[in-house]
């Protein structure tokens, strides 16, 4: 498989955490922006910026990932139920609590009437969105597809993490990442995804075949299991980095890692201190008994 990434945008930037500018904010219609919660607005702004960078007006398909969906709206609607039991409730929080809200809202803004699928499978959500995009791109090589992931943070999650004993080991955060992909390379292409894996019961075991990962890997960006801290098994590689020490943990963090990988691939970041360019980056996440990974190459 080869899925070309023609633009990629994320927020926050894992390699420039001091930069608080949300890319694409100016591209979002002000009226629409006012009706959106702040965290959702950030995600959709990133999507619009990615499309602008790729020169794509309307994507032919939208494939999304999210770990928890619009958790702020979910909590808000639970509060509303509690406060107004038996009374009249506003449907807004409920409507937005649906996991495909971001994908659906982007489609509405752009009148994008192609396929629109949202995956919610923990840290592997984006991987499934990318796999679906790959299937679509193989069937429609001329199509430009929007692939992304967005997750919110809410204070209640910190309280839950605290009682679960995660404090000090895992910092729960939020973030969004969007990419425009296609089956063919074009002038804006930043790299290509050449491998995707989601493997169950793979903790402690090799999840790839030697044929799949036969070439040396310059850099591995990895993230451990949020609950146990268990590390994924990694193939031989030149250098590795715990990317979640930059992004924190949320279901869409692998999207930020994908952007980080593309940044490394395109800025000639050296792995050996001798100026050797990075040509391949493997992003690997462990989540319970599941390992998910994506290989990105120049």
């Amino acid at each position: 498989m080869e899925l070309w990434i023609n633009a990629a945008v994320c927020h926050p930037l894992p390699w420039d955490l001091g930069n608080t500018d949300v890319p694409g904010s100016e591209l979002l219609n002000k009226g629409a922006a006012r009706r959106m919660p702040a965290q959702m607005r950030k995600g959709i702004s990133c999507a619009l910026q990615a499309l602008a960078n790729a020169g794509t007006v309307k994507p032919d398909g939208i494939f999304m990932g999210t770990g928890l969906g619009q958790v702020d709206d979910t909590i808000g609607f639970l509060n509303e139920i509690e406060e107004n039991a038996g009374g009249i409730l506003s449907p807004s929080g409920f409507m937005r609590s649906t996991h495909n809200t971001v994908g659906g809202t982007i489609a509405l803004l752009l009148t994008a009437d192609g396929p629109n699928i949202t995956y919610s499978h923990g840290l592997a959500s984006l991987h499934w969105a990318l796999l679906n995009a790959t299937l679509h791109a193989e069937e429609h090589p001329t199509h430009n597809l929007l692939v992304g992931a967005a997750d919110e943070h809410a204070p209640l999650l910190d309280a839950l993490a605290n009682v679960a004993g995660l404090t000090g080991r895992t910092t729960l955060t939020s973030g969004a990442a969007f990419a425009v992909v296609s089956a063919v390379r074009n002038a804006t292409s930043l790299g290509k995804i050449t491998g995707l894996w989601t493997a169950l019961r793979a903790n402690g075991k090799q999840w790839w075949t030697n044929e799949e990962l036969s070439a040396p890997i310059d850099l591995v960006l990895f993230g451990s299991d949020p609950f146990t801290g268990a590390l994924p098994v990694l193939p031989p590689h030149a250098r590795s980095l715990d990317y979640r020490s930059f992004t924190g943990t949320h279901g869409s963090a692998p999207g930020q890692a994908l952007c980080m990988a593309l940044h490394k691939l395109n800025t000639g970041w050296s792995t050996d201190g001798m100026g050797t360019a990075v040509t391949s980056v493997l992003v690997v996440d462990q989540h319970g008994e599941e390992t998910s990974a994506m290989l990105i190459e120049r």
Binding site: I62, T66, G67, L68, G69, F77, L78, I81, E82, I88, L89, S90, P91, F94, M95, S97, T98, H99, N100, T101, G103, G104, T105, A107, L108, L110, T111, A112, D113, G114, P115, N116, I117, T118, Y119, S120, H121, G122, A124, S125, W128, L131, N132, L135, E138, L156, A159, L160, N162, V163, A164, T198, A199, L200, R201, G288, E289, E290
Partner: protein, 398 residues
């Protein structure tokens, strides 16, 4: 030269719904026109003024019915429903073991039934809420089902009411492209106060038993359930000496891109999904014998779905809304109605739309009102959801 893409067969099915536990119970109820809509008996959610398509089993009874020995004591109802239907599907597929099984499941609420029960303790006993919240994610049921059936790969789709139809579509495409050897595809959703309050806030619920495709329809009844199908390449099935139940002939997903919760007045998205499924199958609308419609009984859905069907078919083939029997099971609906479609093909009948009345305003087509025996070789099954997300699946006789 590239050959034709592989044909995808359904080899196993499992269901639990308001019509009962198991495929045989569904078949008997569908043929009898039995409606499972009624007041809640097994949930302590309130809402005495509403009726639902409730699975007629308590959580304890569900747990007893699940065969998987490792099912713990703190599982959400969504997990229990999913385990029960998945076990039946795997047991019925005729193969003792499935190597390299991929599970694609779907849910909209996941473990919300447990989360909402413990939410009141968020400040006073956060640990109590945390125990429930660990099973909150919509993918929680997928992980349990994956363990119970021995899947080596699993993913979860959440596209509201089209979720499990999208799971079947993805499963078929993974098999066609050689990315999977066998797929268990479907979904599960349990009733919970969160969704009931939400759809009530949207004024989408009828206090009485729903009347899809009727002039006096006044909204949906929520339901719960789970359904899974086992998908395999037909060549593999035949090679192993087994017989397929039906063929997944076509599929398509399209976005209406009109409104977050309503379909465009012209039903553009639904028509695009139905046309896409026909295109993948390589057949025309004239070849469709029966439509298992989305048919929620909301004013907007039924009108726009009918408009789209009448434009596509001219004379719409016998169509029905089995949500009048099961309630709207949200993420499980697409897979549930896929199983019903296969039962229509294999047993030669169309299940009724219970309580259907006069024709919808501005339309000319009425649904099938009583169980009707007829030869059914091809069924189009529609699932349309929030965000304008529409999926049509096309099933044909093996």
């Amino acid at each position: 030269m590239q050959g034709l893409p592989p044909t995808i067969a359904i080899t196993g099915m499992g269901v639990v719904s308001a019509l009962g536990n198991g495929v045989a119970a569904q078949l008997a109820a569908l043929r009898a026109g039995y409606s499972g809509i009624g007041a809640l008996r097994y949930h302590d959610l309130g809402f005495p003024d509403l009726v639902f398509g409730e699975v007629p089993m308590s959580d304890a009874e569900l747990k007893t019915a699940v065969k998987w020995a490792d099912a713990g004591s703190d599982l959400s109802r969504t997990v229990l429903l999913g385990l029960l239907a998945a076990e039946e599907a795997m047991a019925s597929c005729g193969a003792k073991n499935k190597t390299g099984l991929t599970l694609i499941s779907a849910s909209t609420v996941g473990g919300m039934d447990r989360t909402e029960r413990e939410y009141q303790y968020r400040d006073s006993d956060t640990a109590r809420l945390m125990r429930a919240a660990r099973g909150h994610e919509v993918s929680d049921h997928t992980r349990y089902v994956a363990r119970s059936v021995g899947a080596t790969q699993a993913g979860t789709i959440s596209t509201a009411c089209s979720s499990s139809a999208n799971a079947i579509m993805l499963g078929a495409r993974l098999l066609k492209t050689g990315r999977a050897n066998a797929v268990l595809a479907g979904g599960a959703d349990a009733l919970c106060g969160f969704t009931i309050a939400g759809f009530r806030a949207l004024s989408a619920m009828d206090a009485k038993a729903c009347r899809p495709f009727s002039a006096d329809r006044a909204g949906m009844n929520l339901g719960e359930g789970a359904a899974y199908v086992v998908l395999e390449r037909l060549s593999d099935v035949l090679e192993s000496g087994r017989k397929p139940l039906a063929i997944v002939a076509g599929y398509a997903n399209a976005n209406d891109a009109y409104h977050q919760t309503a379909t465009s007045p012209e039903g553009i998205g639904p028509q695009k999904a139905m046309e896409g499924a026909l295109r993948v199958a390589g057949i025309t609308a004239a070849n469709v014998d029966h439509v298992n419609a989305h048919g929620t009984a909301t004013g907007n859905n039924d009108l726009t779905e009918l408009i789209a069907m009448e434009r596509l078919f001219g004379k719409v083939p016998p169509f029905t809304s089995t949500k009048s029997l099961t309630g709207h099971t949200l993420a499980a609906a697409g897979a549930l109605e896929a199983v019903f479609s296969v039962l229509s093909i294999r047993h030669g009948f169309v299940p009724p739309t219970a309580r259907a009345g006069d024709v919808v305003e501005g339309c000319r087509s009425l649904p099938v009102k009583v169980p009707t025996d007829m030869a059914v070789r091809t069924v189009l099954s529609n699932s349309f959801g929030f965000g304008g997300n529409g999926t049509s699946l096309l099933f044909s006789a093996a």
